[in-house]
Symmetry: C2
Subunit: 213 residues, 2 copies
DNA sequence: GATGTTAGTTACTGGTCGGTAACATGTCAA
DNA sequence: TTGACATGTTACCGACCAGTAACTAACATC
């Protein structure tokens, strides 16, 4: 009862010694895994670090997830939701105007990728950390990108692009480029800020005939 | 003398038990580190794996390099030379025609990035594996990309682009995109193959007034 | 108040990591 | 032949890793 634990200010780490219900512990673990895995990498962060940040016992982790890989997959699911949440949020700003929807996503992406502690695309990162393409995490990434490309293709088609596939491919390439450049070049500098204008150029050139967006 | 070691077919691993001169061992180590670090990642590959593949003793590694980090930096130096070797090789195909030089690089890059066991940009990969931006490896990557951007800017300027910086940024973004897409989408599929056409479009649009290349 | 269930705690396993010490072995020059 | 030196070999260090076992403490239900 007399818990002498002190929470570091500004930290999301939870106090120890308190008991936590199962689903509640799961949420704490997912949140801790999200923060640590994304910032420092999936392989670099050990399960001990995750449970400590979650304020949960290690056994509780293995009661909620069968293995670290299982936790990694749950982390990816979470990131997947987050990612398409961003996408649809941008698209929702200009309903019925596919060209402007695409443009809006690049505007928003450039802003997100320019913050100081940005760590790029979580899916690219796990692809780097896992060299085995048959690993479930890699397979998940493939599906994630497939889904993104399909969504882009919907919009480029709706926008009346001369070659919707080519435009979607070009824009997909730009997205990956922004993510990578945020890590290799400095944050919020150079190429990233050029992305929206390049996207605008590609969209305009592809939709020159039919101005559907 | 009676060395019963058997070399696995197709492997570059060297036989054990033989003695190797210092600089020779260094070359074997660098080659082994290159192959393993690039294919499987810098953090994932241990020094034991490197020395085994190099056919060299672990002590020989630490006589040539002060630490694993030191070996990693040497690996990056090697990759840096290789990278700009590719760049200049493409540029050399069309001397005095900057726009065509830039285009040629994208054509060659798309081919390289489409082979089965391609593992993307080694500099992006170490940026993912090392979350600390103050790490020497990260600093090296920053300098590498700075140098690439400077070289691109030389060509876009020489090509008479309306806005050489903007074009260089756009092309730089495309390069990063090709690297990343080679890992997240399948190999030799989709967006990567679209890269040369997108690059051509960007170059043509930026150099519409003055056809210097 | 006894019981079953769940979570927390401690300690441990077997393995890998980067790095080092002590010693044996090979090669080459004098 | 002898000595010096660079190399290979074996064994080890402390630290970390993912995962588990045995036990204790809190809770709800009856």
């Amino acid at each position: 009862m007399s818990d002498s634990e002190t929470l570091k200010p500004g930290s999301t780490r939870r106090a120890r010694g308190t008991q936590t219900a199962g689903p509640e512990a799961q949420q704490h673990l997912l949140r801790a895994a999200d923060e640590l895995f994304y910032r420092e990498g999936v392989r670099s962060v050990g399960v001990d670090a995750v449970v400590e940040r979650a304020g949960v016992n290690k056994m509780s982790l293995y009661r909620q997830f069968s293995s670290k890989d299982d936790l990694v997959m749950a982390y990816l699911e979470r990131k997947d939701e987050q990612f398409f949440g961003y996408v649809e949020k941008s698209f929702a700003k200009h309903p019925g105007e596919p060209a402007r929807q695409l443009q809006q996503y690049f505007d928003d992406l450039a802003v997100r990728a320019s913050v100081e502690d940005y760590r790029g695309c979580p899916f690219v990162n796990v692809s780097v950390e896992f060299s085995d393409t048959t690993h479930p995490a890699r397979q998940f990434v493939f599906r994630n990108k497939e889904r993104l490309m399909a969504r882009l293709l919907e919009l480029t088609t709706a926008a009346g692009a001369d070659d919707p596939v080519a435009l979607a491919n070009g824009l997909g390439l730009m997205i990956e480029g922004v993510y990578a450049a945020s890590q290799t070049y400095g944050p919020g500098c150079g190429p990233i800020l050029a992305a929206p204008k390049v996207a605008a150029q590609l969209i305009a050139a592809a939709c020159s005939g039919t101005q559907a967006g």
